[in-house]
């Protein structure tokens, strides 16, 4: 959660209110729904804590296991508990300890306090491939972060979004952004072929289709989707109608610019619009590279750059699709969305064997971390602080400024078309890709400290799901440091091709 960088984002409801009540008693004409629908029509099939309007929250995270990983497991812990609670009609209040006092709407009938929502704590376990955890933190009343994790054999799609708290319904924005980007990533046929990495899963869409055809629940409403399934079953949220196969024609994908010798520390940038020819349902998304695009990790030696860059093109298209989905929220649901439209940040990455493509808008980050040394921040925040630091202001002064966290780019109707910044690299030594919202990195601004804490969490983890345990430990770290914001962290180990 953060403030937006420009005035339009902090408007309170006003300008559209004349419209809002223009029809008098029948002002539903403006918002396009029956009066009170937001309060009444929401059914809460299995999520006692979900508030009206948050119906789509429960399944922000979806696990897509490949044949190698067992379907579900601990990942159900977060939502599983919620489902269990709903089995009883009434549960005890965690605030005033009144017995069986919390009803179907999640509020205590005695003290009125909200008992909790499923989205307050979400976990996704991709076994040895990846894990992600999202948590409400300790100071915010709801989790406005959202995440997506889909894993295959040595392949993972991961998305982390953070709602802009100054906007209206930011939790809806992050939810739809994470899901849309995740679905687009899963649906894309990554143009990685013939590079000798036979074991790389390049087409996750087939997996998704198989799963969809099998026992999973598929809900195809892009606006408000509530999918509640037995947590022990695999859940795939996807929209078959909107699935588009991205062009796999290698001639039309991005090419690496001539950068000289190709030595280990070479900075690779996308100079062509990798995704120009990628058809997304919501229009083409130019993957712009830009001078601001960060370099690849120092440790990521480039051998065959094309696969990674092609993946980055897919990521760019996915982010553009997410941007369009978030923008569409401004014209649905509560009329207040029109004046302060839902907005969020996004960082997304797709890992295919040793190849990593990533992209972002806003200040959610991706890091690359190896066995030693400081973490490499792959992304560059779209934030006020980042801009003034670039202009020469002392970083400490900049980060202590109240505006430090104001973001200068976001997904939302008021931001217009988004040109996500992307990056790509192919690893030559094993390491971890870490995606997180500022709820974590705020407490670890120093790359060395960040690396130490993440490595400590990874080293201390054992058991059946060490990655999940490590992700949980990082969330706990942020909560113990204050938990001032929602926290989301995703861990994806990446290995070189020859290992």
């Amino acid at each position: 959660m953060r403030e937006a960088g420009t005035a339009p984002m902090i408007l309170t409801e006003c300008t559209a209110c004349a419209d809002e009540r223009a029809a008098g008693a029948a002002f539903c004409e403006v918002c396009g729904r029956e009066l009170g629908e937001g309060e009444l029509a929401v059914t809460l099939p299995a999520s006692p804590g979900a508030a009206p309007g948050d119906a789509a929250d429960a399944d922000a995270t979806t696990e897509l296991p490949a044949s190698t990983s067992t379907a579900a497991s601990d990942s159900a812990a977060g939502s599983g508990a919620a489902v269990e609670r709903s089995a009883k009609d009434w549960m005890d209040c965690p605030h005033c300890q009144a017995e069986r006092a919390v009803g179907a709407d999640g509020y205590c009938e005695e003290c009125g306090m909200l008992a909790g929502r499923p989205r307050d704590h979400l976990e996704a376990d991709g076994g040895a491939v990846a894990a992600a955890v999202s948590d409400r933190g300790r100071r915010h009343h709801r989790n406005e972060d959202a995440m997506w994790l889909a894993v295959g054999a040595a392949a993972a799609d991961v998305v982390v979004c953070d709602g802009v708290s100054a906007s209206f319904d930011p939790d809806a924005a992050s939810d739809i952004a994470a899901r849309t980007a995740g679905e687009l990533l899963a649906a894309a046929q990554h143009p990685v072929t013939g590079d000798g990495n036979g074991e790389v899963t390049t087409d996750l869409s087939a997996v998704a289709d198989e799963l969809a055809a099998a026992e999973t629940t598929v809900v195809a409403d892009p606006d408000k989707t509530t999918v509640v399934t037995d947590p022990d079953e695999t859940t795939v949220v996807t929209d078959p109608d909107k699935t588009t196969v991205v062009s796999a024609d290698p001639d039309r994908t991005a090419v690496l610019p001539e950068t000289g010798s190709g030595s280990g520390d070479e900075t690779v940038e996308l100079t062509t619009a990798a995704a120009d020819d990628d058809e997304t349902p919501d229009g083409p998304a130019p993957a712009e590279s830009g001078s601001g695009a960060p370099g690849v990790p120092r440790n990521g030696l480039i051998e065959e750059p094309t696969p990674a860059i092609a993946i980055a093109g897919v990521v760019a298209a996915a982010i553009a699709g997410a941007a369009a989905a978030v923008a569409s929220l401004a014209h649905t649901g509560d009329p207040r969305r029109a004046t302060s439209n839902p907005a969020c940040t996004i960082v997304a990455a797709a890992v295919r064997g040793p190849h990593v493509g990533f992209g972002w808008v806003g200040d959610s980050r991706a890091y690359w971390l190896t066995a030693e040394g400081p973490a490499e921040q792959l992304t560059e925040d779209d934030s006020w602080a980042r801009h003034v630091i670039a202009m020469g202001v002392d970083p400490k002064v900049a980060m202590n400024d109240p505006k430090a966290h104001a973001i200068t780019a976001w997904l939302g109707a008021d931001f217009g078309p988004v040109t996500p910044r992307v990056g790509a690299f192919t690893v030559t030594e094993p390491g971890w890709l870490v995606l997180c919202s500022d709820g974590l990195w705020n407490y670890l601004p120093d790359p060395a400290a960040f690396a130490d804490v993440v490595r400590a969490a990874l080293n201390a983890s054992s058991g059946t799901s060490p990655l999940l345990t490590a992700a949980r430990a990082l969330v706990t770290y942020a909560n113990e440091a204050g938990g001032a914001d929602n926290i989301t962290v995703a861990l994806v180990p990446v290995r070189p091709a020859d290992e």
Binding site: E13, R21, G36, E39, E109, G112, M113, R138, R142, S165
Partner: protein, 421 residues
């Protein structure tokens, strides 16, 4: 009839804040024309005191009552009471109700023609007789129209004690003809009986006023709709006010319903929409806490028609907690508008022009800012508005009693957010 209830609020509160405000809009929609779910009874009470002879009032009252009778739907029970020093039933025979039909309406018209002025004004007795007649048909939509032209002549306190016994039994719209009646007195009746009060300065306008009231009454399809407000432990409802179409404080009408809830009567409903301002004091939570401050339901007996949640979320983010909700701000202003007008009129009557000028100035400012053009217009007849934006007004030397009373009776009339902008 189906109802909806929608809450408008800024749920974000600063740390330590305990006051939760919300506007709940209740809207009912039914099949076209709306079918009554129960029977209906109408009683027309016409003042027939001696003073009604003046200015052709009794003639106009006869015309108006006849017009109102013509508006009564077939099958509706009705009666007409002639108000003098005692209450006399004019039609049908004493202790009975007629069933509306072309025949009974014609009979009633002839009975009304016999209405002759003479005697005093005894509103308590009139209302008591009406209550007795309504009691013949429990469960009906019970509505009365009271027309008077003067002060109540009953002993002090009698009217109040009658109102106490009959409150909730029926709704009553009150109209004062001429300028010799007391606004406060009729307002007391209308407030206790969930009705409206207005001035009909010219007897000629009575017919239109009666027709309008009766048509509105015929549009009611549900007899006794209530607002049920649940609040958590250690919290209190500071007030529940209807704020649109007019300000009516319902706080004192609370009837406890279990340990945590109370019911507030809303009277009869047709196809309409009304706004309610609910203010609850709760125990402050800590940052990030979310509380259900009130669960507001529209109920009829044991049936819950609609429900809306009023929430409180404590945050240390002042950008969120300082947001002003337009609906709450608007109706807080409209309630203040009614208060300052009434305070201004009281000060003016007491000869305190200084206070009156201040109050009217503030009233002009609110009326202007909120787009309440009707009230601004009425205000302009009592004071000269020099600059509405700054609330600069000057007292008029000569103000007609009619304009003053119109401003008083209509001071509670509100406008909806954005409607006049």
């Amino acid at each position: 009839m189906s109802y909806t209830a929608e809450a408008f609020q800024n749920e974000y509160l600063a740390l330590g804040a305990s006051e939760v405000n919300a506007i709940v809009t209740v809207t009912s929609t039914g099949a076209a024309g709306g079918r009554r779910t129960s029977g209906a009874t109408e009683i027309i009470i016409v003042d027939a005191s001696g003073s009604m002879q003046a200015e052709g009032r009794i003639g106009a009252a006869r015309q108006a009552a006849k017009a109102a009778v013509e508006c009564i739907d077939d099958g509706v029970h009705f009666a007409i009471i002639a108000g003098v020093s005692t209450a006399q039933q004019l039609y049908p025979d004493p202790g009975q109700l007629a069933v509306a039909s072309p025949q009974t309406r014609a009979d009633a018209s002839r009975a009304i023609d016999r209405l002759q002025p003479g005697g005093g004004t005894a509103m308590g007795a009139w209302l008591l007789l009406a209550a007795q007649l309504f009691a013949l048909r429990p469960g009906d939509i019970a509505h009365a129209i009271l027309l008077t032209d003067g002060d109540n002549g009953e002993r002090y306190g009698y009217l109040e004690s009658v109102l106490e016994t009959i409150t909730g039994k029926f709704t009553c719209d009150c109209r004062g003809v001429g300028t010799n009646w007391k606004v406060a007195e009729l307002r007391k009746i209308a407030t206790a009986l969930l009705g409206t009060v207005d001035i009909v300065a010219k007897p000629l306008d009575l017919t239109a006023a009666f027709e309008q009231m009766m048509t509105a009454a015929m549009g009611k399809t549900s007899a006794d709709v209530q607002l049920k407000v649940w609040t958590p432990v250690n919290s209190t409802v500071r007030f529940v006010k209807q704020v649109e179409p007019q300000v009516v404080d319902l706080t004192g009408k609370r009837v406890a319903d279990g340990a945590r809830a109370g019911r507030y009567p809303l009277g009869a409903w047709g196809q309409e929409s009304r706004d309610y301002h609910i203010c609850v004091d709760v125990t402050p939570g800590s940052s990030g806490d979310e509380m259900l401050a009130a669960r507001v339901s529209v109920v009829e007996g044991d049936t819950v028609h609609a429900q809306s949640l009023v929430r409180a979320v404590w945050t240390d983010d002042t950008a969120l907690s300082t947001r002003i909700n337009r609906q709450v701000a608007h109706y807080t202003g409209q309630a203040e508008l009614a208060e300052v007008i009434q305070a201004g009129l009281a000060a003016r009557e007491a000869g305190d022009d200084r206070t009156a000028t201040l109050k009217f100035g503030r009233a002009a400012q609110i009326a202007h800012d909120s787009g309440n053009a009707a009230t601004e217009e009425l205000l302009a007849k009592v004071v000269e508005i020099e600059d509405a934006a700054t609330g600069t007004v000057r007292m008029r030397r000569k103000v007609s009693a009619e304009d003053e009373m119109a401003l008083d009776t209509r001071s509670t009339k509100t406008v909806r957010v954005g409607r006049a902008q």
